[in-house]
């Protein structure tokens, strides 16, 4: 014989990440560090953008470089003489707040002004995982196809800054930069959109100014 009963579980699987994200942000605020999370597809130019910013500002920057299995990106950034923590997600397609929390143990927060987190190359999964950053930048390149923005609405709706990169190649790959700008605007009407060719140095100053402005508006 057995008894049968219904039990309310009410356990929110996503909230666990959100809680850890809040914890991370408390750590950033305490150390007066402004944290920026860079999201974009593989090859969109996230690592190059981070390298360019490091080389062109006086602020002290630390970087957490997420990757599925390799440490190539962490190695590239290390050569710019800034503190870098490489995080391998193993089988996962995104960074989560828990993993970032681990990475923070090796990051000298008291000695930096900005923490940049480079997410795993993916426009889908990072939507579900807040890391505790103050600002999320989405980088998309025209070479991914000019329908990439409209195909990934949620990541663009959650962006605080959209960078459309490699616009110098648009003609060669038959992509319309204007369409990508219009799509981003339609999905996220208030977001700032910067078109760039980072290899040529175009757009970099605007990106740096946009990050500084976002920081001063959010008082961090």
């Amino acid at each position: 014989m057995h008894k049968v009963g219904d039990i309310i579980v009410a356990r929110n699987i996503m909230k666990a990440n959100k809680k850890l994200a809040n914890k991370n942000q408390e750590k950033f605020d305490k150390a007066n560090v402004f944290c920026v999370d860079f999201v974009g597809a593989i090859g969109s130019g996230k690592t190059s953008l981070i390298e360019e910013i490091i080389d062109n500002v006086d602020d002290k920057i630390g970087v957490i470089a997420g990757d599925v299995i390799s440490k190539f990106d962490a190695g590239r950034i290390e050569s710019h003489n800034v503190p870098v923590v490489g995080l391998n997600t193993g089988k996962e397609c995104h960074l989560d707040a828990h993993l970032v929390g681990h990475g923070l143990k090796d990051m000298p927060l008291d000695n930096i002004d900005y923490l940049f987190i480079e997410n795993v190359g993916n426009l889908i999964c990072p939507v579900d995982f807040d890391l505790g950053s103050h600002m999320r930048i989405v980088v998309v390149s025209v070479t991914e196809g000019d329908d990439t923005v409209e195909k990934h609405p949620l990541i663009f709706q959650g962006a605080d800054l959209v960078i459309i990169n490699k616009v110098d190649l648009a003609e060669a790959v038959g992509a319309s930069t204007e369409k990508m700008v219009a799509d981003a605007k339609s999905l996220n009407p208030d977001v700032q959109i910067i078109t760039s060719s980072l290899k040529q140095g175009k757009g970099l100053d605007e990106v740096i100014a946009a990050i500084e402005e976002f920081r001063s508006n959010s008082n961090n």
Binding site: K3, V9, A10, R11, M14, N122, L154, P189
Partner: protein, 124 residues
């Protein structure tokens, strides 16, 4: 794409609750999945079917319930259920049903929650 780790989180919640209640068997698991969570419910179900093997959850009915997207529109101040265009299942678009603006704040619909379980246990 992260259905496996979500399914693991779901299983942990189910097993912990079942054990805390001295269950010998779990017969039903009810899971709510927000329409904006980047998860394919069928894949979650498949991952769970693998994870339940050789546990007391093995024969349970897995019941998945959709949770509507609730929004507040920045444009016309509408508050309530948003229109979700799921022509592309993995990346739904959200619109205000009143003024069709994309300028909306999502209040609900991103979460994954284990709502309840039904269990059997031995008589004392």
């Amino acid at each position: 794409m992260h259905e496996f780790s979500m399914a693991q989180g779901i299983m942990n919640a189910v097993l912990e609750t079942a054990e805390a209640n001295d269950a010998t068997k779990v017969t039903d698991v009810v899971i709510e999945i927000g329409k904006l969570a980047m998860l394919n419910p069928e894949q979650v179900k498949f991952m769970l079917s693998v994870l339940v093997e050789d546990t007391i959850v093995q024969d349970a009915n897995i019941i998945l319930e959709d949770i509507d997207v609730e929004i507040k529109c920045y444009n016309c101040e509408y508050e309530g259920v948003g229109n979700v265009d799921d022509s592309d299942h993995y990346a739904p678009m959200i619109l205000c049903p009143k003024c069709e603006s994309h300028r909306v704040n999502v209040i609900n619909g991103k979460d994954v929650t284990v709502k309840s379980i039904s269990i059997e246990k031995d008589d004392e």
